[in-house]
Symmetry: C2
DNA sequence: ATCTATGGTCAACTTTTTCTGACTAATTGA
DNA sequence: TCAATTAGTCAGAAAAAGTTGACCATAGAT
């Protein structure tokens, strides 16, 4: 579990995901110091571990959204408590 | 926070610490596949992050005990919940 | 005095993780 | 048609984490 969420960028991705769906290039711009490769593998791992859902949005600019899955949302309140300690 | 508890051996150390004070060589024997160096730096980091207290026991066989600090004990119930997800 | 147990440290090496730069491929706008 | 935005992949380099084996110092038992 800790292993699934550990990594240099996963915590930040997780935090941002709480505020709504994420898009690849938006993350790349908002998370300072990161890079495509790391971001891509972090996102893939979070999807594989079922914390995030990856959805292709077939609209105006065809794009992809990463949003918290049910499992992902379940972990949020616990994390918030951990952060208060 | 996740960073402070991530590492190959820290989760196991933490789990064992819940059952009572830990001793260096005992850990080295009970955690399979580990080694002095990794154990030493994991313990030091956990002490630095104040999850563990390091206490020198001045008794029969003078030794050192690592036990959960208040902060460490506070995290335990949250971890138990996380593991149920 | 020597051996064992305590709890380490140190330098060098290996493995894993992260970063960099080049490249791809589909879609959209001018 | 050309350029930009979307979302990546790939190979190699660099950095971080983990492992190994040698060594050290104290204390207790033989």
């Amino acid at each position: 579990m800790l292993k699934q969420l550990s990594g240099k960028w996963k915590p930040q991705i997780f935090r941002l995901a709480v505020n709504g769906p994420l898009r690849f290039n938006a993350l790349l711009r908002t998370i300072e110091g990161t890079n495509k490769q790391s971001l891509a593998s972090s996102l893939n791992e979070l999807v594989k571990a079922e914390y995030l859902d990856k959805v292709v949005i077939r609209q105006k600019p065809l794009h992809i959204e990463y949003s918290l899955s049910e499992k992902g949302r379940a972990v949020v309140p616990l994390f918030m408590q951990l952060e208060l300690l």
